[in-house]
C-alpha cells in the first residue's frame, strides 16, 4: 500500500472540514466540521508513524482523540450557553463585539 493514498485521503477530509467550518452558520455543525479536521490529522500521524516503524504516531493520535473529546465537551457547553442567552445558535448573530 502506498503512503500517498493515506496522505491524500487525509488532505481531502481536511479540506472538506475547512469548507464546513467556512460554509456553516449553525454552531453545532461547525463543531462537526472541526471533528472532521482533527480526524484527518490523526490518519496522517498514524501513517507516518507506520512508515518510520515508530510508535510515536500512534501515541500522538491517541492524544489528539483525547483533546478532541475535551474540545467537543467545552465547545458544546459554550454553544448551549449561547443558545440560552440568545435563543439561537446562528454564528452570524453572535456579533456583540462588532462595533
Amino acid at each position: 500500500m502506498l503512503l500517498t493514498n493515506f496522505l491524500m485521503l487525509s488532505s481531502i477530509l481536511f479540506c472538506i472540514g475547512v469548507y464546513g467550518v467556512l460554509a456553516r452558520r449553525n454552531a453545532v455543525m461547525v463543531l462537526m466540521s472541526i471533528e472532521l479536521i482533527l480526524n484527518a490529522v490523526n490518519i496522517n500521524l498514524v501513517a507516518f508513524g507506520t512508515i518510520h516503524g515508530s510508535i510515536s504516531g500512534h501515541v500522538f493520535a491517541l492524544f489528539i482523540i483525547a483533546v478532541a473529546a475535551a474540545e467537543v465537551g467545552v465547545g458544546l457547553a459554550m454553544v448551549l450557553l449561547i443558545y440560552r442567552n440568545r435563543s439561537s445558535i446562528d454564528l452570524d448573530d453572535v456579533d456583540l463585539l462588532k462595533g
Binding site: L22, M32, S33, E35, T50, A70, V74, L80
Partner: protein
C-alpha cells in the same frame, strides 16, 4: 498491475472502498441541511476512519476511535442538537450565504491543490510503500505512553479534568 494496486490487492480494494464511503459521507456532513442527518453521516466517516486505522495496523487506535468518537462524541453532538432545539427536518438556515459558500469552497479547493502538490511533489514520497508487517501491539503503545510520553499523558489527564469542570461550570443553570 503492481504499479496500480501495489502489493496487496485486497488491502487496496478495502482502502479505496472505505475511502470513497468516507469522502461521500464527509461531503454530506458539510452539505446536509438536516442537523441530525449530518451527525449520523459523521458516524459513517468516523467508522470508516477506524477501518483505515485497522488497515494501517493501528488496532488500539481503531478501538479507541470507535469507543471515544462513535460512542461518546457523536452522542454528545446529538445531545447538543437536542438541547439547542434544532428544527426537526431540514433547516434552511444552517448554511451561510451563497457568496460565503463559494468563497469557502474556493479556499478549500486551493488548500487541497497546495497539499496535493506538496504530497506528490515531494521526492521519494510517492513511491514510499507501507511495510507489509505493520501491526503495532497494544503493549508497545502502552509502553511508549507510560515511559517516553508520561508527562504529556499526565497533562492530557489534567486537561480532561479541566474540560470536565469547565463544561459543568458553563452549562450549569444558575
Amino acid at each position: 498491475m503492481d504499479t496500480v494496486w501495489g502489493d496487496n490487492v485486497a488491502q487496496n480494494i478495502a482502502f479505496y472502498l472505505i475511502a470513497a464511503i468516507m469522502v461521500g459521507a464527509a461531503i454530506k456532513v458539510v452539505t446536509s441541511k438536516n442537523v441530525v442527518h449530518a451527525a449520523l453521516y459523521l458516524v459513517a466517516v468516523l467508522i470508516g476512519m477506524a477501518g483505515q486505522f485497522i488497515l494501517l495496523g493501528a488496532e488500539f487506535i481503531a478501538a479507541t476511535q470507535l469507543l471515544v468518537y462513535v460512542g461518546a462524541i457523536v452522542v454528545l453532538f446529538l445531545f447538543g442538537i437536542m438541547l439547542t432545539r434544532a428544527q426537526v427536518g431540514s433547516d434552511p438556515d444552517v448554511d451561510t450565504t451563497a457568496a460565503q459558500r463559494t468563497t469557502g469552497g474556493f479556499v478549500a479547493f486551493i488548500l487541497l491543490v497546495v497539499m496535493g502538490y506538496a504530497i506528490y511533489g515531494t521526492e521519494g514520497l510517492s513511491e514510499t510503500k507501507l511495510p507489509e508487517e505493520r501491526v503495532q501491539t497494544i503493549a508497545e503503545v502502552s509502553d511508549s505512553i507510560f515511559s517516553t510520553y508520561l508527562v504529556p499523558f499526565e497533562a492530557i489527564s489534567v486537561l480532561l479534568l479541566a474540560a470536565l469542570i469547565g463544561a459543568i461550570v458553563l452549562a450549569r443553570r444558575d
